[in-house]
Amino acid sequence: MVLNPEEKDELLGRYHIRPDQLPYILSSDPVVREIGAKPGDVIKIMRKSPTAGVAVYYRYVVEG
C-alpha cells in the first residue's frame, strides 16, 4: 500500500527520521511495479508475524 504524503510525513515524524533511513525497496521490485509505486514513495507492508500475529513494515521506494 502506498502512503499518501500526509501519512508519509506522519511516519517520518513519528520516528524522527529522514526518508532514506527507512528500509528500501527497489523500484524494479515486482511488487512495486504491480502496485505502481514510484521512487520517493513509501509503501506500507502488512506481514503475517509468527510472534505478533500481524506486523507492519514500511519501505522507501528507491531507484534501482
Binding site: I17, D29, P50, T51, A55, Y60, G64
Partner: protein, 1274 residues
C-alpha cells in the same frame, strides 16, 4: 569540565578522516632526509642521515631525541623522508590509477564523456534526491563505464588509447599500430596532474584530501624508529626490523638510480634500476602483492612489511586494536565443586593475592583496611598497593615498614586489597560463543590451585573438567562492578536468550540422584531425612512423615518438596515417564511433589518448560537460585550416601536374548544375500532416479540399521528399570539407548560419509576379505558389542568411523566459527532505540518493532510474551467459589479493552482463554491486568544489543550441527543440503544454492489425480534430445543426421516425434520426421565433417520441452494432494506453466524469489528456510533472532550477504570494514575518497577506546538548550 569537577575527562576522538599525504606535506612533516643506506657506524652510533638517525626518535632509555630532546619514554618519534630519484607507483593505488587513466583523456586530462553529461551528473550530485541511495558510487560507476567505451576525447578530440595494466605496477599503452608502449610512473604522474579537480570529484574522489598525482610517489615518508625498533640480542648483535631492511634497500637503489641518471647511463640500464626501485617500494608497502616475488630476509623468511603488519588475525587491526590485553585477569585449570553456590567461583589463594580491588578508605572501613595493609602483599588477606590522595601509588612489596603506612591511612586513600569472598568477578571460557560465556560470579577464596566451578553452570560455558582452563577478570571501577552485579550474575543468565528456556540446571549425577530420590518406593527414616534436609540447608520444621507409627518413614518426594517454593504448582511429563509412554506424571501442588519422578525434564539444563524454568519465570531468578542450590546439594548428598555405580556386570545380556539377537542378525544377513542375488539376476525393483547399485546399497543399509534397532529393542525389553545404564539414559543423566545397545548388543554399521566402508583395496575394504565379498562384515558392519570386544578388523573399521567424527568436528568448528564472526560483525551495531525500533548507528531502521512484538526472548516464556493459559490457571486457583461467574459479554468486553494494549496474537489468546473458562469478573480482570503487566515486563529495553544476541543465537548452535549433507532416510530420492552448510549458504545469500529444489503445488484441476499431476511434471522436467534418443547416426554422404527416438522414454517425458522435430528445426536446417519409426532426420546443405559433428552435438543438447535446470521430478502425496518435487529450480518459468498453483509453489532459491516475487517474499522465504534448517537439526532458536537477520539482509531492498560483499562491506565505518576483512584495500579506498569515520559503531569505538554505543553505552547526557540560554550544544 575538568576544572569544574576535578575529574580528568579523557580526550574523545570525534571522527577520523582518511587522506593521501601530498609530497609537500611529507616534506613538511619530515625532520630529516635519509640519504645514507647504512644504519650504524663502527662504534654503534646512528649515522646522521641514515635510517636510524636520532632525529627520527630514540629507542633506548638513556638516549636523547635529536628533534624533541625527550628520552625514549617521552619521544613519540618523528618522520623523515626519502626524495626518490624517479617517481614510483604506490601498489595500493595501482587499481585506482588504472581506472583514472582509462577514464580520462591522455592529452587534456578531462573525463571522456561529453561536457553536457558532466554537467548533468554534477547537477544531480549537487542536490541528490533521497530516493537515489549511493548516488556517488553509482555515478562514478556509470561514468567509468561510459568513459571506457569512448573512442575519442569529446573535449580536445584526441584519440583514446587502451591502457594495459599488469599487476602489480606496470602500465602499457596500446598504440594504434598495436604495439605496446611502457608508461613510466613519471609519465603517469604528468597525466594524472592534468585531471581537473571537478572531474576528479565526479568519480567519487575528494581532491581536497587526495590529488590523483599524489598516488604516484615522489617523496617517500620514513617512519620513526619507534615503529621499527632494532633489537639487540644477548650476544650484542644488533638485529634490524624488517621495515628498516626494506628502507635500506630503497635508499641504496635510490642512490644508484640517481647516479645512473646523473652519469647519463643508457636508458635500458636506467630502466632496470628504476624497476628495481619500484620493486623495493612495492614490497615495502605490501610483500604479498600478486605476481611479484616476495622479498626475503637473509634467513629465507619473507619480510613482514606494512600491509602484513595491518592484515589478518594477528595484524594491527584484529590483533592489537580490536583485541586488547588486560590487567587484573587470571587463568588456570577448572575443577568441579558441588559444595559452592552456583553463583560462586572458587579462587586459589595464590591468585587472590595477586588480583586486587581498589577500595576507597572511609571512616567505616579504615580499621579493616589498615589490617590489610599491615598484612601486605604476601599474607592473605592483605593489600598490594596504596594510592595516596595526591595520586601517588605505593607498592607495599617494596615498603620496609608497612605498619607506618597502615597507620598513615586515612579517608581519601585508596587501598588495592586482595580479592576476598563476596567480591564480584567475571568468569569466562573460550570460545565465547554467546553472552553466557562470560558471567559474573562471587568470589570464594579456596586452597589449592584450580578455579572451582559448580557443575550446574557447565552447560552455558560448555565446560568440562578434562583439563579445561578458564579466565577470570576483576572489574576495577564502581560502574563496572555495578553492571556486572546488575546484568551478569549467574542467576540472571539462567534463561538463555536463544530460546527463552533455562540453560543452567542439573546435569549428570544430579539427574540420576533426582530420580533415585523421587521414585515411588524411596523411604527415609527421620534421622536420614533430617540429615539430608540439613545438608540442603533446610532450617524449617520437619513435615509430618508419610508413614506414621512406631517407625515413621518419609518419602523421597517429601524430601525434595522441602525445597520447592511455597504455593507453587505445576504439572509436566518426566523424561522417565515419556520413555514408557505415560504423560503428565509429575505433579507439584502448593510446593509439594505429589507424584512423578524428577529428572531432566524437571531440573535439567537446556530443558524448556521444566520445573526450574517455571520457578525462574514465576518467582524470579534469585528464587530460582535459592531453589536450585539446596536442591542440588541435597541430591549430591543423597547420591553420595546411597551410592551409584555402573560396571561390567551391569552390561551383561542374558543368554537367551543374546541368542535372539544372533538370530535377528542371521536373518538380516540372509535377507542381504537375497537382495544381492536379486540384484545379480536383475530382478531388483528399481527406484526412479537411482542407479541399481544404489538401490541395492540403500536396501542393505536399511535392513542393517533395522537389525541394530531390533537388537536394541530386544535389549530394552529385558533390561530392568534399576539397571544403572537404563537409569542414566532414561533420566537424561548421560548416554542414550543407542549407547546402551552398542555396549551390550552390537555396534552396528560403521559408516564413512554416510555410506558403508568400501575404500581401501580394489573391490574390498581390507585384504582380509575376498574380492566382492557379499557379507556385510566386509564393509564395516560390526556384530560385536563393546562389552564382548571387537575383533581386530571390526576395531579397524570402528577407528575409521571414529576418525571421520574427529575430522568432522574440526572442520565444523572452523566453519561455524567463521560464520559466527561474520554474523557478529554484520549485526554488532544493531540496538534498540528508545522508540523500540531496531536501528544501526546511522539511524537506519531495520525493524520498526523488535521481533515484531518488542518482546525480549530472554524475558519471554519460551518465545511467548505471556503464558496466558498458565496465568489463568493460577488466578482461578485463588478464586472464591461462591462468587457469581461473569457473563460471556462481560469477558469479551474486557478482552477487547485490554487486547488493544497487546499484540494481535496475544489479544486473540486472551480472548480464547477468557471465553473458554468459567470465571468471575474480578478473576477476568485480574487475568487481563496481569497479562498487561507481564507483557510490559517482558518488553525489550532500549539499548539492548539485539544484533549481537541474534548473531550469537544463530551462530552458537552452528557448532552443534551436522556438517555433511543429509540424505533423506527411506526410499525418497531427495538429497538436499541441510545443516551447517545450508545455514552458511543462506546467510551468504548465494545466487544458486548447492541443491536447488522446488515443491510445485498444483491447481485444483491437477492436484487430485496422479495422472494429471504427472502431465504437469512432464511439462516441467527439462528434456533434451539426448534424454530420449536411443541412437544418432550421421550420413556422411548426404550430410544428414538421423535420430532414433526411444518410445518408452518419450512416453515417460510426454513428448512426441513431432515435438522433437519442431525443437530441432531452427535456422536453415531441413527436418523431416516419421512417427511410425520414431525417427527424425536433419539435413543441412553445404556441409563438411566438423560441421556435422558440431551439429550432432548441438542437436543432442537441444531442449525439447520443460524448464531448463529442472533435472529431476517426482510426485509426492501430501495431505491428499499430489505435489511435484523437483531437483533444480526456476521459479519464473515453473510459475508460468499451466496447472501450477502459483500461490503455494516454493523454491529454496532465495535469490530467485527476490527476482520473481520481490524482496518481501525473499525475506519471508529466508525466515522460513533458516528456521526450517535449524528446526530440522533439533535446535531451538527464537524466531525474533531469525527475523532480525532476515530483515537486516533485506533492508537495502536487495539480498545482502552476511559478509564482506554485503552487510559488513556496506558499513559506513572505514575502521569497521578494515577490521573485518580486506584491510589494506579498504584503507586505500578511504584515503583517495577522503572518507570520514564518525565512530558511531561498535568496532570503531573498540579501536579508538571509546564507549561502545550499545547497551549501557547509549546513555547520553543532553542539555536542555532552552534553559541554557539557547546555546546549541550537546
Amino acid at each position: 569540565m575538568a576544572a569544574l569537577t576535578g575529574i580528568d575527562v579523557p580526550k574523545k576522538i570525534d571522527f577520523i578522516k582518511f587522506g593521501v599525504l601530498s609530497p609537500s606535506e611529507i616534506r613538511k612533516y619530515s625532520v630529516v632526509e635519509i640519504t645514507v643506506p647504512e644504519t650504524y657506524d663502527e662504534d654503534g652510533l646512528p649515522i646522521p642521515g641514515g635510517l636510524m638517525d636520532n632525529r627520527l626518535g630514540v629507542l633506548e632509555p638513556g638516549q636523547i631525541c635529536g628533534t624533541c630532546g625527550n628520552t625514549s619514554a617521552e619521544c613519540p618519534g618523528h618522520f623523515g623522508h626519502i626524495e626518490l630519484a624517479e617517481p614510483v607507483i604506490h601498489v595500493s593505488f595501482a587499481d585506482t590509477i588504472k581506472q583514472l587513466l582509462t577514464a580520462t583523456c591522455r592529452a587534456c586530462g578531462r573525463l571522456l564523456i561529453p561536457e553536457a553529461e558532466i554537467e548533468a551528473y554534477r547537477g544531480e550530485l549537487e542536490n541528490p534526491p533521497s530516493y537515489k541511495p549511493n548516488i556517488r558510487e553509482r555515478t562514478a560507476k556509470e561514468i567509468f563505464a561510459k568513459a571506457r567505451k569512448a573512442k575519442i576525447c569529446p573535449h580536445c578530440g584526441a584519440k583514446k588509447l587502451e591502457i594495459e595494466f599488469t599487476r602489480p605496477h606496470i602500465f602499457h599503452e596500446i598504440m594504434e599500430d598495436g604495439s605496446a608502449v611502457r608508461l613510466t610512473p613519471a609519465v603517469i604522474r604528468e597525466r594524472l596532474e592534468r585531471i581537473p579537480d571537478d572531474d576528479y570529484r565526479l568519480l567519487g574522489f575528494d581532491p581536497g584530501t587526495s590529488r590523483p598525482e599524489w598516488l604516484v610517489i615522489q617523496v617517500l615518508p620514513v617512519s620513526p624508529v619507534t615503529v621499527r625498533p632494532s633489537i639487540t640480542l644477548e650476544s650484542g648483535v644488533r638485529s634490524e626490523d624488517d621495515l628498516t631492511h626494506k628502507l635500506v634497500d630503497i635508499v641504496r637503489t635510490n642512490l644508484r638510480v640517481r647516479e645512473a641518471k646523473e652519469s647519463g647511463s643508457p636508458p635500458l640500464i636506467l630502466q632496470d634500476l628504476v624497476d628495481l626501485l619500484q620493486y623495493h617500494v612495492t614490497t615495502y608497502f605490501d610483500n604479498e602483492a600478486s605476481s611479484i616475488p616476495p622479498a626475503h630476509h637473509r634467513s629465507g623468511r619473507p619480510l613482514k612489511t606494512l600491509a602484513q603488519r595491518l592484515k589478518g588475525k594477528e595484524g594491527r587491526f584484529r590483533g592489537s586494536l580490536s583485541g586488547k590485553r588486560v590487567d587484573f585477569s587470571a587463568r588456570t585449570v577448572i575443577s568441579p565443586d558441588p559444595n559452592i553456590d552456583i553463583s560462586e567461583v572458587g579462587i586459589p589463594v595464590e591468585i587472590a593475592k595477586k588480583l586486587t580491588v581498589p577500595e576507597r578508605v572511609t571512616p567505616w572501613n579504615l580499621h579493616s583496611l589498615r589490617e590489610l595493609v599491615r598484612n601486605g602483599p604476601d599474607k592473605y588477606p592483605g593489600a598490594n598497593y596504596i594510592i595516596r590522595p595526591d595520586g601517588v601509588k605505593i607498592r607495599l612489596e617494596f615498603v620496609p615498614d608497612r605498619d607506618a603506612y597502615a597507620d598513615g591511612l586515612e579517608p581519601g586513600y585508596v587501598v588495592e586489597r586482595h580479592l576476598k569472598d563476596g567480591d564480584i568477578v567475571l568468569f569466562n571460557r573460550q570460545p565465547s560463543l554467546h553472552r553466557m560465556s562470560i558471567m559474573a560470579h562471587f568470589v570464594k577464596v579456596l586452597p589449592y590451585r584450580t578455579f572451582r566451578l559448580h557443575p550446574a553452570v557447565c552447560p552455558p560455558y560448555n565446560a568440562d573438567f578434562d583439563g579445561d582452563e578458564m579466565n577470570l577478570h576483576v572489574p576495577q571501577g564502581e560502574e563496572a562492578r555495578s553492571e556486572a552485579l546488575l546484568l551478569m550474575k549467574v542467576q540472571d543468565q539462567i534463561i538463555s536468550p536463544r530460546y527463552g528456556g533455562p540453560i543452567i540446571g542439573a546435569i549428570r549425577d544430579y539427574l540420576t540422584a533426582s530420580y533415585l530420590l523421587t521414585k515411588d518406593d524411596v523411604l527415609l527414616d527421620p534421622e536420614e531425612f533430617a540429615r539430608l534436609a540439613y545438608e540442603g540447608g533446610y532450617d524449617g520444621p520437619l513435615p509430618r512423615p508419610e508413614i506414621e507409627g512406631r517407625r515413621p518413614m518419609y518419602t523421597g518426594k517429601q524430601l525434595f518438596s522441602l525445597f520447592i517454593p511455597e504455593s507453587f504448582s505445576y504439572m509436566l511429563t518426566s523424561k522417565w515417564a515419556k520413555s514408557s509412554g505415560r504423560r503428565r506424571d509429575v505433579v507439584v501442588k502448593d510446593g509439594l511433589l505429589v507424584s512423578g519422578v524428577i529428572d531432566k525434564a524437571s531440573l535439567g539444563a537446556e530443558e524448556p518448560d521444566s520445573l526450574l524454568h517455571r520457578i525462574t519465570k514465576d518467582k524470579g531468578t534469585e528464587e530460582a537460585r535459592r531453589f536450585l542450590n539446596p536442591a542440588l546439594k541435597l541430591l549430591k548428598e543423597y547420591v553420595t550416601s546411597r551410592g551409584f555405580s555402573y560396571g561390567y556386570d551391569d552390561l551383561e545380556v542374558p543368554a537367551n536374548v543374546k541368542e535372539k539377537i544372533r538370530r535377528v542378525l542371521d536373518r538380516t544377513y540372509r535377507q542381504i544375500f537375497k537382495y544381492i542375488e536379486e540384484y545379480k539376476a536383475g530382478k531388483l525393483t528399481p527406484i526412479k532416479g537411482l542407479k541399481l547399485e544404489d538401490v541395492l546399497e540403500q536396501r542393505v543399509m536399511n535392513v542393517l540399521s533395522q537389525a541394530r534397532d531390533k537388537a536394541g529393542e530386544l535389549l530394552e525389553q529385558v533390561l530392568p528399570d534399576e539397571n544403572p545404564g537404563v537409569i542414566m539414559s532414561k533420566t537424561g543423566a548421560r548416554g542414550s539407548s543407542l549407547n546402551l545397545g552398542q555396549m551390550m548388543a552390537l555396534l552396528g554399521q560403521q559408516a564413512i560419509r554416510g555410506r558403508r566402508i568400501r575404500r581401501g583395496f580394489r573391490r574390498r575394504a581390507l585384504s582380509h576379505f575376498k574380492v566382492d565379498d557379499p557379507s556385510p562384515d566386509a564393509y564395516g558392519f560390526v556384530r560385536s558389542s563393546f562389552r564382548d570386544g571387537l575383533s581386530p578388523i571390526e576395531f579397524f573399521f570402528h577407528s575409521m568411523a571414529g576418525r571421520e567424527g574427529l575430522v568432522d568436528t574440526a572442520v565444523r568448528t572452523q566453519q561455524s566459527g567463521y560464520m559466527q564472526r561474520r554474523l557478529v560483525n554484520a549485526m554488532e551495531h544493531l540496538r534498540i532505540e528508545y522508540d523500540y525500533t531496531v536501528r544501526d548507528p546511522e539511524g537506519n531502521i531495520i525493524q520498526f518493532i523488535y521481533g515484531e512484538d518488542s518482546i525480549d526472548p530472554a524475558k519471554s516464556d519460551h518465545g511467548a510474551a505471556v503464558n496466558i493459559d498458565r496465568l489463568a490457571e493460577m488466578v482461578l486457583l485463588d478464586e472464591k467459589p461462591d462468587e457469581p461467574k461473569a457473563s460471556r459479554e462481560e469477558k469479551m468486553e474486557l478482552a477487547e479493552d485490554y487486547g488493544g494494549l497487546l499484540t494481535p496474537k496475544l489479544a486473540e489468546e486472551l480472548k480464547t482463554v477468557l471465553s473458554s473458562r468459567e470465571m468471575t469478573r474480578s478473576s477476568a480482570l485480574k487475568i487481563c491486568e496481569r497479562t498487561i503487566k507481564l507483557f510490559k515486563g517482558a518488553m525489550i529495553e532500549p539499548g539492548e544489543a539485539v544484533g549481537v544476541v541474534a548473531a550469537q543465537s544463530i551462530g552458537e548452535p552452528g557448532t552443534q550441527m551436522t556438517l555433511r549433507t543429509f540424505h533423506y532416510a527411506g526410499v525418497k530420492e531427495k538429497d538436499v543440503t541441510l545443516g551447517l552448510p545450508r545455514l552458511i549458504e543462506l546467510v551468504d545469500a548465494r545466487k544458486q544454492p548447492s541443491t536447488p529444489v522446488m515443491d510445485v503445488y498444483l491447481d485444483e484441476g491437477h492436484r487430485t489425480s496422479k495422472a494429471k499431476a504427472m502431465e504437469v511434471a512432464k511439462e516441467i522436467l527439462f528434456t533434451k534430445v539426448e534424454d530420449i534418443a536411443s541412437s544418432i547416426e550421421i550420413d556422411y554422404m548426404s550430410g544428414s543426421i538421423t535420430l532414433s527416438l526411444d518410445r518408452e522414454l518419450m512416453g515417460d517425458r510426454g513428448c512426441t516425434t513431432k515435438d522433437v522435430a519442431d525443437a530441432v528445426k531452427v535456422g536453415k536446417r531441413k527436418v523431416s520426421y516419421d512417427d511410425e519409426t520414431a525417427t527424425v532426420t536433419v539435413s543441412i546443405g553445404n556441409f563438411d565433417l566438423p560441421m556435422l559433428y558440431a551439429l550432432r552435438d548441438k542437436i543432442l543438447k537441444t531442449r525439447v520441452k520443460g524448464v531448463a535446470g529442472i533435472t529431476r521430478v517426482s510426485l509426492e502425496e501430501r495431505d491428499g494432494e499430489w505435489v511435484i518435487v523437483t531437483m533444480g529450480s526456476d521459479l519464473r518459468k515453473v510459475l508460468a506453466t499451466p496447472g501450477v498453483d502459483q500461490t503455494r509453489t516454493r523454491t529454496n532459491n532465495i535469490y530467485e524469489i527476490a527476482l520473481v516475487l520481490g524482496i518481501e517474499a525473499a525475506r519471508q522465504a529466508l525466515v522460513d528456510e533458516i528456521s526450517k534448517t535449524l528446526e530440522e537439526q533439533g535446535l531451538e532458536v527464537d524466531m525474533r533472532h531469525i527475523l532480525l537477520v532476515a530483515d537486516l539482509m533485506t533492508h537495502k531492498g536487495i539480498l545482502q550477504q552476511v559478509g564482506r560483499h554485503g552487510i559488513v562491506g556496506s558499513k559506513v565505518s572505514v575502521l569497521a570494514r578494515a577490521a573485518f576483512e580486506i584491510t589494506v584495500p579498504t584503507l586505500a579506498e578511504a584515503a583517495v575518497k577522503g572518507q570520514v569515520d564518525e565512530l558511531r559503531g561498535v568496532t570503531e569505538n573498540v579501536i579508538v577506546g571509546g564507549v561502545i554505543p550499545v547497551g549501557t553505552g547509549i546513555v547520553d547526557l543532553y542539555i536542555d538548550t532552552s534553559k541554557s540560554g539557547g546555546k546549541k550544544e550537546r
